[in-house]
Structure formats: C-alpha cells, structure tokens
C-alpha cells in the first residue's frame, strides 16, 4: 500500500488536473495511461455518471479495474457493451463524445500532434514511435480535445516531425480553411502547466502553471515562444488531500501510472 500522506507528485497532480476537465454526465474517450487514472478518479469523485469509452469497443468497464492499455481486456471487463471499433469511433464522429484525451510524443505551437516518429526522414526514422492508433481519428471528432504529455523543449518543438493529428494546423484560420470539422484542441496539459490557444492566432498560450513553475521556467521547457495571458498567471489548482487519497488507495494503489519513474 502506498503512503497516503506523502506530498503529491507531478503525475498525481496531472491526473487531478485532467480529471477536473471532465464534467459529470459527459461521455469521455479515454487513452492509455494518465487519462485512465483521471477518468476513474473523476468517476469516483465529482462525476459518477460519466461514460468511459475505449477504442477497443468496451465502454464503462467496472470501476477500479485500471487497464494497462486501450487494447487490454480491462477496457471491456464487465462492461455493458463491446462494440466493433468502427462503431466506437463513429460515436465521436457523430458528436456523441464530449471530451477526449490524446497523448503525444511531440506537440507544436499550434497543437499539432506527433506519435509517429522522431527524425526528418520517414523512411530513416531516428526513433520509430507507435503510429496513430486512434489518435488521428479522435482529433477532429471529439467536441473537446485535450492533449496530454510530458513537457521538454524536444517534446514541445516549433514544428512536429510528423503530423499524426491535426490541431490548429498553421494557426489562424488554417484549420477551418482546410475544411476540418470539430472544435480543434482545447488545451494542452503537462505536469508543469495547462495551456490553451489564442483565439485568433491559435498559438499555444499559458493558462495556468503548477505552483513553483514560473512563466520563465515554462518557456525554458518549451521549444517555441509561449504566449503569455493578460494579467497574472494563475496557479493550477492542486490536488486535494481527498483526491490524493483516492488515487493512492483506490484508483492506482500499486502506483502503476502515478509513481514517478526512477531518474
């Protein structure tokens, strides 16, 4: 059992911040990892009536069974339905999914996401990553799309090496002009900050920062020029002691996703 009284680590904070994006009664498309922790935390706290949808076709598996990935049996274990994958995605495309979380290996200043490869030549990848999976498919479908990942200058480059999923494309009206439907990415969440996009330029902008992280630190962790919001930058609301206990005792008692990796 984990120490319930230790201070929150950044991953737990991240799970909490993500969970706060989820309104009760909404339909949530869940990706592997921290979003699963966040979805289950939300369901166990302020949003008991949400529906969790997995691309495997499972929906709303029994609480507390944390899947290892979106393709594992825990995504449909004691779930009331298992759909074929095409129907699962079609629900998003038809506007029935309220919020979705996309992971990224890289995200750029316009919220374009890369999960394919690192390097300049597709055929000679420096690192070959997983590829799209459902990432692209969700990217223009979900009403509210939230990007989640780690933040370093490499992971927040000016331009991603490969556009797996289109965000605001080249900013401004370029997404709309390309004919894409959907609302585009609403937020980027890293352990250090929550970011949104400037309404006109669609450039990434600080919305709130984790206490102790200044704008300058956030900028140093970013490979392009971050926009600064008007006025004071608020602190991201920190995880409450109650939620922290729930994560450690119920949601992720073995710390699979919310224990910090050894350095």
């Amino acid at each position: 059992m984990r120490d319930l009284n230790a201070p929150a680590n950044p991953l737990e904070t991240l799970a909490y911040i993500i969970a706060q994006q989820i309104e009760d009664h909404s339909v949530v498309y869940i990706g592997t990892g921290i979003p699963m922790v966040a979805g289950i935390l939300a369901k166990k706290t302020h949003a008991p009536n949400i529906t969790l949808v997995y691309e495997s076709g499972g929906q709303d598996p029994i609480e507390g069974d944390m899947p290892w990935s979106v393709g594992c049996p825990m995504t449909w274990r004691k779930s009331p339905t298992i759909m074929e994958m095409s129907y699962s995605f079609a629900q998003c495309y038809n506007g029935y999914v309220d919020i979705g979380f996309l992971g990224f290996a890289q995200v750029d200043m316009y919220g374009n996401v890369n999960t394919h490869m690192i390097g300049k030549d597709y055929h000679q990848p420096k690192v070959r990553l997983t590829g799209s999976g459902g990432n692209n498919d969700l990217s223009s479908l979900t009403e509210k799309m939230v990007l989640v990942g780690l933040q370093t200058p490499d992971k927040f480059p000016e331009k991603v090496d490969f556009i797996t999923s289109v965000g605001w494309l080249e900013g401004g009206d370029s997404r709309k002009e390309a004919g894409l439907i959907g609302n585009g990415p609403a937020a980027v969440i890293s352990p250090w900050g929550v970011y949104d996009f400037h309404p006109a330029s669609k450039r990434m902008r600080v919305k709130s920062l984790t206490p102790g992280v200044t704008f300058e630190i956030a900028q140093q962790l970013t490979g392009f020029e971050l926009l600064r919001p008007e006025g004071e930058i608020p602190d991201t609301k920190l995880i409450t002691p109650e939620c922290l206990k729930i994560i450690r005792a119920q949601v992720d008692p073995r710390g699979v996703f919310t224990t910090m990796p050894a350095a």
């Binding site: 691309e55 029994i62 759909m83 038809n94 990432n135 073995r254």
Partner: protein
C-alpha cells in the same frame, strides 16, 4: 451527450410525449421481429402528425402509422401486403389519394443510408445493380438526393451512392435492457444496429428490465450503449402481435383479426377505436386481448426456452492492480513496472 435526468425509466406515454414531435423522422429499429407496437400505438394515440417514417421491412407497423394519419412520407425497402390483393392496404390507398409520399429503396441501399448515418458520413457507396433500375430512376420526395454517383479514384468506375439517414427518433423493442439504457437484442437483426446508431434519439421498450449484472456479463448482446438511449420502458408484450425470440411467436389470432379489419371501407378505423384510442396503454391492451380472445390464445404462442451456451469472459485476476501478492495483470512487481514506464518514456501511450 450530457443527460442529467434523474432516470430514463418511464412509461411509453411519457417517452413519446417527450421525444417524438410533429414533423420528426421516426424509424422502427427492429427488422421483422419484435416490432415496437406499444410505442407505435402511443404515437398514434397521441396523434402525432407529419412524420417521415422509416421501416425496412414494413408490415402492420407501416399500415398503422399511415392509417393513424401520422405519416406524410414513407421510406422503405419492402411492404408486406395487407388487406388482400384487391382492396390493398393503407399505403396503397393513401398513395393513390395523394396523401402519402413513398420513397422505395432496396434492402441494401436502405441499410447503406443508415450505415452512413451511423458512421457520420454524408454518403455511402452501394451496389452497382441499383443504377439501371427504376428504384434509382423513379424518385419521390427525395428527388435529386435519393441517389448520387461518384467516381472511384482507384478504379475510375462510376459508383452509385446514397445519402446518410439520421432519423430524429429510433423506436426499438428488445428482450432486455437495464435502467441505463443498455439494450440487448438477439435474433434476426437486419439493419437494427445501424438504425439505432444512426438515430439522434433512441427510445427502448423491453420485455424485462434487468440488473446491470445481467447486461455486463453478456456485453456482445448489447446492440446500443446506454448513453445513447433517452428512455427505457419496461413493457411486457410491447411488440405483440409480432414475435420475439425467447418470448413468443407471431400471434396469428391477432394478425388475422387485423387483416380482416382492412376489408371495411373505413379500413382500420374501428379497430383503432377499440384497440388503440380506446385503451390507455399496453397493459390494458393485453387485458383487452385476454377478454376478447382468451388467455389460452395468448399462451399458445409462448416460446419454449432454448438457451445459448455460455461464453466465458473470465480473466485471471479480478482486478489488474489491487489484488494481493505478485498476481498482477502484468505479472511484474513495482520495480518491474517502474522500469517499463521508464522504457516507455511517455506518460501516455500514444494510442
């Protein structure tokens, strides 16, 4: 789709009042089995008007909806002949009188419109055999939008396409559902899954409202997930006189009674006065049936049980994470997991 009502469980009266509006497009999700007659009767009873009605393999459901003056436009692939060859049924009479527009598709093209709708596409390819038929050429209310043609960029061939259908309301009767709306249906499905998933609002009536436990143990029988469903009605005999696997065969006593009603000039008027307008709900309909035909007649069509062999959905560990010892889903301990996460290098698997 936020849905904050305290409960979806309600009566047919309440569901139809709340979710079916004059001018809506309404589809019967069932193919030939389990036609949702209780919901259809309620629509007629509430005298809804100006509906566009979809029924793939139209039978008494179509005749009733037309005779109830509910329907202006009908979209169908097949119409069972009621009322004998000479007189014809209500569809024929209304069509001749200019009171009903009928758009004819084939089974596959009808289904393709719903498949497009279920996928969120604006169109769907269909089989080429349709293009030179009068199904393609003769068009009613759909006009230019009944069919279109695109050129396949890979083969260069001209391919007929149909526009998506996304009905406002889907009516569905099933064997069992839970209070969340998870609806389980088995037997001949036709286009039922596509009809449900393409529709904007879904009303489910069921023979039995069951525990969530029953549903979650047999997830592949759930044809529509709870969050898509707006109303659930526990309505035994909700599809009578049509059949439902596990419950009953078609009630031929009632069907022949209905068929005979067509012979009068009034068509179904007096039948409606007695059986639809004259009765407030399905329970009183069944009570009236027993008064008129006897309980033996009702029981005669009751199914003898034939149960499916179970499917074992078991996994090795009840929970992936909170069991004792090292019996985790992944079979590794905390150190191993930390190593895995470090190797992965990302918080979120880029799924």
């Amino acid at each position: 789709m936020k849905n904050c009502r305290p409960s979806k469980v309600m009566t047919a009266h309440e569901a139809v009042s709340r979710y079916v509006h004059d001018g809506d497009s309404v589809i019967t999700g069932n193919y030939t089995e389990g036609l949702p007659f209780s919901l259809l009767f309620e629509i007629i009873r509430q005298r809804k008007k100006g509906l566009t009605y979809y029924s793939q393999s139209g039978s008494a459901d179509v005749e009733f909806m037309v005779a109830g003056d509910c329907v202006d436009k009908l979209c169908t692939a097949f119409l069972h002949k009621w009322g004998g060859r000479a007189a014809g049924g209500m569809v024929e009479r209304y069509q001749r009188a200019g009171k009903l527009q009928v758009e004819d598709y084939s089974n596959f093209t009808y289904n393709a419109r719903l498949a497009a709708g279920a996928n969120g596409y604006s169109f769907m390819p269909v089989l080429p055999s349709i293009m030179d038929s009068d199904v393609f050429k003769i068009r009613d209310y759909m006009g230019e939008n009944k069919f279109g043609v695109v050129r396949c960029p890979f083969t260069g061939r001209e391919i007929p396409v149909v526009p998506a259908a996304n009905p406002d309301v889907c009516l569905l009767h099933v064997q069992r559902a839970d209070k969340h709306g998870n609806a389980q249906h088995w037997g001949g499905l036709g286009s039922t899954v596509h009809a449900c998933l393409a529709s904007k609002t879904i009303i489910v009536s069921c023979e039995e409202l069951v525990d969530f436990d029953v549903i979650k143990s047999s997830p592949h029988h759930t044809i529509v997930p709870g969050f898509r469903v707006s109303a659930v009605i526990e309505e035994p005999y909700g599809c009578h006189p049509s059949e439902l696997p596990g419950y009953r065969n078609p009630d031929m006593t009632m069907l022949r009674f209905i068929d005979n009603s067509f012979s009068s000039d009034e068509g179904l008027r007096s039948m409606f006065d007695e059986w639809v307008y004259g009765l407030p709900d399905r329970a009183s309909y069944i009570k009236h049936y027993i008064d008129v035909f006897g309980v033996e007649s009702l029981n005669r069509y009751r199914a003898r049980s034939y149960y499916s062999a179970p499917a074992d959905y078991g996994v090795a560990f009840e929970s992936g994470w909170d069991t004792y010892g090292q019996a985790l889903l992944l079979g590794v301990d905390i150190a191993g997991l930390e190593q895995l996460i470090a190797e992965k290098g990302d918080l979120v698997d880029v799924d």
